[in-house]
């Protein structure tokens, strides 16, 4: 170890993996439906995209977690986003590419991607 900067670099790199162990209630929560219906429709790549992209961008205020079936199996993969103090947004028929857009637009810039929401689909 030659410098504080070197230590800091190791710290920052290891930090992303440890963030998951913080239970922070002010975090944005992203719930990916991972019941049988979700998995069959391709929820796993969606979940993994959320996890990896958030880590890559260093989004320490986002908790990505999985949930069971919420009963709208025809719309799977379903992703629910809870921003503290705001109404829940439900995205449907998700895939990895759409997930990236949601991260960029919604999680980072706080603009709901209206076209992917359940409201847009059921019209």
């Amino acid at each position: 170890m030659k410098s504080l900067a070197e230590l800091q670099a190791i710290r920052d790199k290891a930090r992303t993996q440890l963030n998951i162990r913080n239970e922070n209630e002010d975090n944005i929560r992203v719930l990916v439906g991972m019941a049988t219906c979700g998995i069959a429709a391709g929820a796993r790549p969606v979940l993994n995209t959320f996890v990896e992209e958030c880590a890559k961008r260093g989004l320490e205020n986002v908790t990505v977690t999985q949930t069971g079936c919420i009963g709208i199996c025809q719309y799977e993969p379903v992703v629910e986003v809870y921003v503290p103090g705001e109404e829940k947004v439900t995205y449907v028929k998700m895939d990895a590419e759409k997930a990236k857009k949601v991260i960029n637009d919604h999680l980072v810039n706080r603009n709901v991607v209206a076209e992917y929401t359940i409201g847009a689909y059921s019209k």
């Binding site: 049988t36 996890v51 999985q66 069971g68």
Partner: protein
């Protein structure tokens, strides 16, 4: 990048209830479900709630599974890790809520705790240095070496008010300043990890759960006093702790956080491990130094104190594991932060190992000034079977008891001494109304008699005589003069023994005499043991009116001491009875009593 992390406790408690098998089963099931790249399994140190082990926590949900068995793993993997449905039946009951999982921090056991020394235990993987660094590990060392002078380090520790956590409570900063003031070609930093009090496992848990914190703190101490070498004296009975220390030292070397020219500042420091063979006296600092030098672990007279003439005759400091565990946090957060916790003369937190007659057996860290009532009834979850609190023993065989009337005294160094007990290293054994205080005094005295090194007469012979008098009382042959002689001999040993072991050995007797003299008198005058423990003074009898003649007691008696016909009252043959109490536990009609 893992989407989920599973922490499995790898402390000694959970390891002995086979948490290693759980990790094995987890890895197998994850592979079967092709989840091994998505789920990270980590073996951590102690979570503290040892009574509920083996313990497993799944993040990001923070689901706290308790008493997990290897056969539960397929269900947890398939339901929770694959499909996202938490397995509620295996959750720690207090965390179960209608629609979500209650955070562990909100449970009664954790809510009143404040984790400083234990902050990484049960959070990081102790065998990966990066995880320690991620929790700001080694940042304090970096700050000390690049921004502070040795004197500034000592001043910070002094200002924090940190006192030795091994039991004595000597201000750590003063110890360091004495050693720093003595010029020598070589000085040493020692870590006392020879935790020997029966029922105490605070230091073991820190070493198992966060070994790097000790290495970092010792290196900081080395810089402060001008030492380049350190020794950790750890019990050989702590194999997991020793193993993790070895791994930690190796990793610190690889990263250049130990060794030559640390942080390119020209400062060198190295740490060696010495294994103790399990002699209690080696926890006494001068005996510990003698043992590190390769000699028989016997104490030597002080002065000279180790700060003047310590290891190999050189100025040395000796601090206990928990003391070191506080140091990096004090450097990073400042002396004021540390001094803001606790009471006027006892700053910070203290770790206690809760044991005995208590529901939540385990490890707790509380701010100084918390009352024993909060520890027992809130954090500890109360006394099992609705029994009543009688006393708590602190300081192990060197300490004394705290009685029910002192339940609301804020716990700190000075208050505990004022009520005839002591802080000790942190063993906290809870006793209920089925505990005989004379028997407890005998238990601790047997320990010190065994562990006396034999160098000085008051301890070697005196404690043996104390034990003989206690035995006489317990057998029902004692007299009132015996109680007086017992007390006189206690004071004589306290004044004349060479080291801390002998000087404190009579404490359990003195403190039980102070608060429970009536129990001693009951043994001597009435020939009765009020708690029904001392076998010679107890008779187990069947109340004829209540006995239904079900024969259950007779069938369970291990020595066939119970006779009687079916549906007729039974009788115990007192000459055969060994007073084991199995009949009482088995009787469904409450017909058998201890008198």
């Amino acid at each position: 990048m893992y989407r989920s992390t599973v922490l499995v406790c790898g402390g000694t408690g959970c390891t002995s209830s086979h948490s290693d098998k759980i990790i094995e089963a987890l890895n197998k099931e994850l592979e079967k479900n092709e989840l091994q790249k998505e789920v990270n399994v980590i073996r951590t140190g102690c979570f503290g709630l040892c009574a509920l082990g083996p313990i497993m926590v799944v993040y990001p949900e923070g689901a706290f599974y308790s008493m997990v068995k290897p056969e539960d793993i397929p269900e947890i993997v398939e339901e929770h890790l694959l499909k996202g449905r938490i397995v509620k039946r295996l959750l720690y009951k207090e965390t179960v809520q209608e629609d979500s999982v209650k955070s562990l921090k909100e449970t009664k056991f954790y809510a009143k705790q404040k984790r400083v020394a234990l902050r990484n235990c049960g959070v990081i993987n102790p065998e990966i240095i990066d995880e320690y660094i991620a929790m700001d590990g080694y940042a304090a060392l970096g700050k000390v070496l690049t921004e502070m002078t040795p004197q500034e380090v000592i001043d910070t520790i002094l200002a924090s008010g940190l006192r030795g956590r091994g039991g004595g409570g000597f201000p750590t900063g003063r110890k360091w300043s004495f050693a720093a003031a003595n010029d020598a070609d070589q000085k040493y930093v020692c870590c006392n990890a020879d935790e020997g009090d029966p029922g105490a496992f605070m230091d073991r848990s820190v070493l198992e759960g966060d070994p790097h914190v000790v290495l970092e703190a010792m290196t900081i101490a080395g810089y402060a006093i001008g030492a380049s070498e350190g020794y950790i004296y750890v019990r050989a009975e702590y194999p997991i702790a020793v193993e993790r220390l070895k791994i930690a030292i190796e990793q610190a070397h690889e990263y250049g956080l130990l060794g030559k020219n640390i942080f390119d500042t020209g400062f060198d420091f190295d740490i060696h491990i010495r294994l103790g063979a399990g002699a209690f006296v080696c926890g006494e600092e001068t005996a510990l130094l003698t043992s590190i030098e390769g000699n028989r672990g016997e104490p030597r007279p002080r002065p000279p104190f180790p700060a003047v003439k310590g290891l190999y005759g050189k100025p040395s400091i000796i601090n206990n594991v928990e003391t070191y565990a506080n140091i990096p946090q004090i450097i990073l957060n400042g002396a004021d932060w540390f001094a803001s916790m606790g009471t006027e003369k006892s700053k910070g937190t203290k770790v206690f190992a809760l044991g005995g007659k208590i529901n939540n057996t385990g490890l707790v860290e509380i701010p100084m000034g918390t009352t024993l009532r909060e520890v027992v009834y809130e954090i500890g979850g109360g006394i099992p079977n609705g029994r009543e609190f009688k006393a708590a023993q602190t300081g192990g065989p060197s300490g004394g008891c705290i009685t029910a009337e002192n339940l609301d005294v804020p716990i700190d160094y000075d208050n505990l001494i004022a009520i005839g007990s002591m802080m000790g290293s942190g063993g906290l054994i809870i006793m209920d109304d089925t505990t005989c205080m004379v028997d407890i005094a005998k238990f601790f005295l047997e320990f010190t008699v065994d562990e006396s090194c034999g160098k000085c007469t008051p301890c070697r012979v005196g404690t043996k005589r104390l034990l003989e008098i206690l035995d006489k009382i317990i057998e029902g042959k004692g007299t009132m003069e015996d109680i007086d002689r017992l007390e006189a001999l206690c004071y004589y040993i306290k004044e004349n023994a060479l080291c801390g072991l002998g000087q404190t050995a009579p404490n359990p007797v003195l403190s039980t005499l102070r608060y429970f003299r009536d129990e001693y008198i009951a043994h001597v005058v009435d020939k009765k043991c009020p708690a029904g423990v001392c076998k010679n003074l107890v008779q187990i009898k069947i109340v004829p009116d209540k006995c239904k003649g079900c024969t259950l007691c007779a069938r369970n008696c291990p020595v066939n001491a119970i006779e009687g016909k079916v549906k007729e009252p039974h009788v115990i043959d007192q000459s055969k009875c060994i007073k084991c109490g199995v009949c009482i536990d088995n009787c469904k009609f409450g017909a058998i009593v201890r008198e």
